[in-house]
Amino acid sequence: MQNKMRKRRHNIVLWSLAFVLLLASFFDAVKQSGALPTVYVWAAGMKGTGFQGPAQADRDAKTARSAEELKKRCEEALDWKMKASGATSAQDLLDRMAAHAGKSPEDWYVLAMAKMGLELDYTKYANALFEGCKDPEPTDVEQYRRYLVARAMGYEDIPGTAPEKLKDKGIMSAIYRGYAVAAGRASSSFVYGETQSALIDLKLADGGYALMGETSDVDVTAFVLQAYGALLGAQGKTAAGAELASAVRDGFALLGKRQAADGGYASFGTANAESGAMVLLALASFSDEDITAEVRNSVHANELIEATNRFQTAGGGFAHALSDGVASMENDLATAQVMCAYAAYASYLKGAPGRLYSVKAAATPVVPTTEKPTEASTEETTQKQTEASAEETTQKQTEDSSEETTAKGTEVSAEETTEETAEVSTEEAAEITTDGAKETTSDTKTTENSSADTTTKEETIENSTSAPTEDPDIEKPEGGSSTSARTIQWIMTAVVAGLILLALLANLFSKRKSKLNYILIFAIGAAAFVFIWMSKITLPEQATQKQQQTYLERLPAQGEFRITISIDQRIEGEEALLMPRLVTVSGDDTVFDILQRVTTAYGISLDYSKSMVGTVYVRAIGGHAEFDRGAGSGWVFLVNGVPATTDAGSVKLNDGDVLRWAYTLDLGKDVSP
């Protein structure tokens, strides 16, 4: 007995040290979060440089009316099309057109409808578009169109339309590639440059472009200019190189030269509506910051619109060409393209992005659900629309309405807790896609089962889009995801149990045993077990993330829109963590929410800390941590090229914004322009 009673101190020392370390690191974490808003310092005084449409004031007066006019003409054209095809409503028209989605010029209608901002459900059309992609040998043109249309509708992953496959097959490829690159597919500044150069290389001596030969063609030139606009827009205003600027200038100069006396354009000797529409689209693709007024004024836009208006028939549609100076026979392509052009230009005039692909797409309010918020929001949206149409919309109101729509989105899905709602809506979408008008089950259980359910459903979407016949490889057993999470929990439990055993043994073999040590060990162990089993463990490849990916990459719903995000650790010769990428976000998402979702979705690790007052500090992304490369190094973010003024937790974005997370070596000085 006596021999066992020995002095022992270091064991206690060891444990207390462990605790002190634990505490220290904890406090460190807390301290860091509150004490290191270096971002603030960098950006002090820059607050308030918002991202509203610039130079709005001088534009307001003269444009409000013409924007309304353009919109009206668009609606007239749509009415004509509806009558012509016997559709009862715009939605009906859309669904009817789905029959030959991706194979006819009617795609342009879809583009136009999207750009007009109609509240429509595009899922059926999109699905049809995807179905078409399974054609054994799609023609290039079809693929381009599909890609463009899908982009306009807000879809991203369209099998077989990966723009990488389309490159170097002529000028159309180059143009589409420009679009695609701008849309956020596989790009970095390098790719941007390459794409630009590829297009610029095709420039002819007169500053224009052509499908073949040395004579520039108005349509092609306008098309290229649209791609330039897209590229410029996607990179933020900073990225315009001198070369690109001069190409744009030359392009518009040529278009100006080719503009007929009446303001219209001709192709192959015939004055027609489509060419003018293309030019108008080219104009709409650039914002006022992108090009100077001088360049913009090379083309007389008002005269162009006047000229194009002449192609409108009494029925509301547009003719390809005039017969004896009168528009008599409507043409589908002409009508659709003019609609696109008018819708885009109206959008430009209102200060919103005029580019075709950056459509604030409509949500899917058609489905009657038991979800109250959705209903309410639908109602309210309708009400809102009525209001908006009742009044003559001024610039300011447009702003308001966009803000309010954002606010509505809160109710629909963008609350912090609404990941589930989002899931549900995906679910619903899935139901519609696969079973048409089948009744929706509103399964909103919050348990693991529900998430597992959603998982399988989501896979159904995948299956139905990629292969209608069930693919056994993709199909996972029910609840498979939670099983692997449980495995991890068991592994962790085993590890902790092993550690407890070790500690107990250590105590047993040490010179003197004290009750306190045992209590301590068991207490720590119990706390660890509780922690492990209370924690939510998710595997990176698990469904929730795919869901997030679909969330990020799906059609924007009500109150949602798309932004471009990139994460660049800025190491020479290393690919950026995330190339610029279009993602769907809600108006309520902060920059940090977006970052968190995006990093989770694309398997990038994120280390951050939140302070008591709610400010967020991002310590590391993808393993690149602050202070890794010097005292002034760390992560900063820029919105449209402008360094942040506050922490990521308090900045929200607008439609079409370009968010860039960059690793700075010198307190942000090296990443800002």
Partner: protein, 286 residues
């Protein structure tokens, strides 16, 4: 062989070992530190029990598992824990951190064993003789203080008035603290008187240096500094490099690595030639 080393040599030695241990989070450096630490442990005749080994392992495992919860840094995500990434790199970092801690613990024991107050005094030297004096008084006072507190505890308990409930316990503890304060003051007065009685403050204090630099002390100090310089050269040249974030990567750079590690190995082991003297001193102290 009886080799006597000067306190400052020891000081330089420990500073360099610990600096290298703390700055190079390199597996080989850790291994060398561990090995030489254990050899020192043996030399100083400390017992290495199974309890030590198991305890250190438990600590190691504990810190390793904990670190990814605290830090979500690192590129390889194993899984998400409550929405935060649990990364492989953070695990490795935790393990390295824990290993460094264990090695540091080991070395701190060795340090406290070798760097006795006498040696600290000598290191402080003439320039810091006042600091040195305060140091020795503090070194003496701490054990006295804890002893006294223990006695007060026991005395109160012995009186038969074991406190009941946390309220009483708290008030007793509070009074004990006050009592300790009074005792410390009282102690301080007497000590101050004793110091005055022995001429403190009557002249400019000198410093009793008991140590001389022998050839061995100088040589070992030079060798230690040389090894350190060699390690620095190797490190600056890109050797002995390991990276944890964002990916674990151990750069191998043959010649420089070998130079650095050999130098560190020598650095750690060289002063062991003085083990006989250390053991003698230990015997004399108690």
């Amino acid at each position: 062989m009886r080799v006597y080393l000067h306190s400052r040599t020891w000081f330089i030695y420990f500073v360099m070992v610990i600096v290298i241990l703390m700055t190079f989070w390199h597996p080989v450096v850790l291994l060398i530190s561990l090995e030489s630490g254990l050899v020192w442990w043996k030399i100083l005749k400390r017992r290495l029990t199974l309890g030590h080994v198991l305890g250190a392992t438990a600590l190691l495992g504990f810190l390793t598992v904990i670190n990814p919860i605290i830090s979500a840094n690192g590129a390889t995500i194993l899984f998400y824990l409550n929405g935060r990434a649990y990364t492989a790199e953070a695990l490795v970092y935790g393990f390295l951190f824990a290993s460094v801690m264990v090695c540091a613990l080991l070395w701190s024991v060795i340090l406290s064993e070798v760097m006795t107050t006498d040696r600290w005094l000598c290191v402080c030297g003439r320039r810091f003789s006042r600091t040195g004096l305060v140091l020795t008084m503090v070194f003496r006072f701490f054990p006295l203080f804890s002893k006294q507190w223990h006695k007060i505890r026991e005395g109160q308990e012995a009186l038969g008035g074991t406190p009941v409930g946390w309220r009483e316990t708290f008030s007793l503890t509070k009074r004990e603290l006050l009592c300790m304060l009074t005792w410390s003051l009282e102690h301080g007065f007497v000590t101050a008187d004793a110091m005055l009685a022995r001429g403190y403050g009557s002249a400019k204090r000198t410093y009793f240096n008991r140590e001389n630099y022998g050839a061995a002390s100088v040589l070992v100090a030079l060798a230690v500094i040389g090894a350190f310089a060699a390690i620095l050269t190797a490190a600056i040249g890109g050797g002995m490099e390991s990276q944890i974030y964002p990916y674990v990567r151990i750069h191998m750079d043959g010649a420089k690595d070998i130079l650095g590690f050999t130098a560190y190995f020598l650095l750690c082991h060289l002063p062991m030639i003085s083990c006989k003297v250390l053991r003698e001193e230990r015997r004399m102290r108690s």
